[in-house]
Amino acid sequence: MAQSVAQPTATPTAVPAKLPIGTIAPWAVFFGILMLVLLYFVGAEQGATAVVSGENVHEWVHDARHLLGFPCH
């Protein structure tokens, strides 16, 4: 009884349980790389480097590239 009275102020927000790193890692590696590839195509493809030849990718995302802060031509 005394013990339960001793900590009335401790009503913290429920802190979520930690997710084990080993469980996150495979998701983080696979999807992390996938997301970075997407960002590369929006941000840099056919600018400094090119995987696909031509100008079409660059021209298509031209405005987004400028407005999202990536260097563009």
């Binding site: 999807f31 400094a48 021209e59 999202l68």
Partner: protein, 256 residues
């Protein structure tokens, strides 16, 4: 079980990124596009050797479909990355619930991914920037982004390590000072890029950069709020309201 939580958070992160991207797209279209058009107007009035053959993509498509593709893919990609970072941060960054953690993470993301690189290498409208230096500018921009994100992660880990010794307040100040100092060093040692043409409108440049900042502010704020809402539902499948109602109903059946 845990793997399912990671998957659910990842999917919701990408969806929240898509939703945030839609809002950012509205800002980009109404605040950003007029400035891009003005800058292209300047470019065409001053083009010396700029070859104007057949345009591969028309201006109309660039400013609608092209802009939408870029901003939405950007939103989804960073939404996914932020959701994965959230999985690591959850329960490890202090006594923050799911929603507060999401908002803190997106503020950190805005700063580390965008604002810090922006202060050194700001967004430029068309006709600002020498095409010959695109390789150098791209390398420097991505280098600054990676450096900023790595230092932000290091700052959080440092803060956590110092907290037991210094207390939360002082540990946060010390870690923040570490971040400011190391970023300051990076700013000082990385080469500057100033390729604004001499007679390019200062007002236009300012407005373009403000619009670029507004897009990111919208994107990351919306992401933090939407993802926080979704993440809380993933992490606490029983809504708090329903539990409260059960208790209330048990205590005073007449109330409902």
């Amino acid at each position: 079980m845990n793997s399912a939580i990671v998957r659910n958070l990842l999917v919701r992160g990408m969806l929240a990124g898509l939703a945030a991207g839609l809002l950012a797209l509205v800002v980009a279209y109404f605040l950003g596009e007029p400035r891009v058009d003005s800058a292209i107007g300047y470019e065409e009035a001053h083009s010396h050797a700029h070859e104007h053959g057949v345009e591969a993509v028309s201006r109309t498509m660039q400013s609608t479909g092209g802009l939408a593709t870029g901003v939405l893919v950007y939103g989804v990609a960073f939404g996914g990355i932020a959701a994965l970072a959230y999985c690591f941060a959850l329960g490890r960054i202090g006594r923050f619930g799911p929603r507060a953690s999401a908002l803190l993470l997106s503020v950190a993301g805005l700063l580390a991914v965008y604002v810090v690189p922006f202060l050194k290498y700001p967004a430029n409208p068309p006709s600002v920037g020498d095409p010959d230096t695109i390789g150098k500018r791209t390398t420097l921009y991505f280098l600054m982004m990676v450096l900023s994100v790595l230092l932000a992660v290091a700052t959080v880990i440092l803060g956590k390590r110092l907290a037991p010794r210094l207390g939360n307040w002082n540990a946060t100040i010390a870690a923040g000072a570490f971040f400011v100092l190391t970023i300051g060093l990076a700013y000082a040692f990385l080469p500057a890029v100033n390729e604004v043409p001499k007679d390019f409108s200062g007002t236009l440049l300012w407005q373009f950069r403000l619009a670029a900042l507004a897009i990111q502010l919208t994107l990351w704020t919306a992401f933090g709020l939407v993802f926080g809402f979704l993440a809380e539902r993933v992490l606490a499948p029983k809504p708090a309201a329903a539990g409260g109602q059960e208790v209330t109903a048990g205590a005073t059946p007449v109330a409902r």
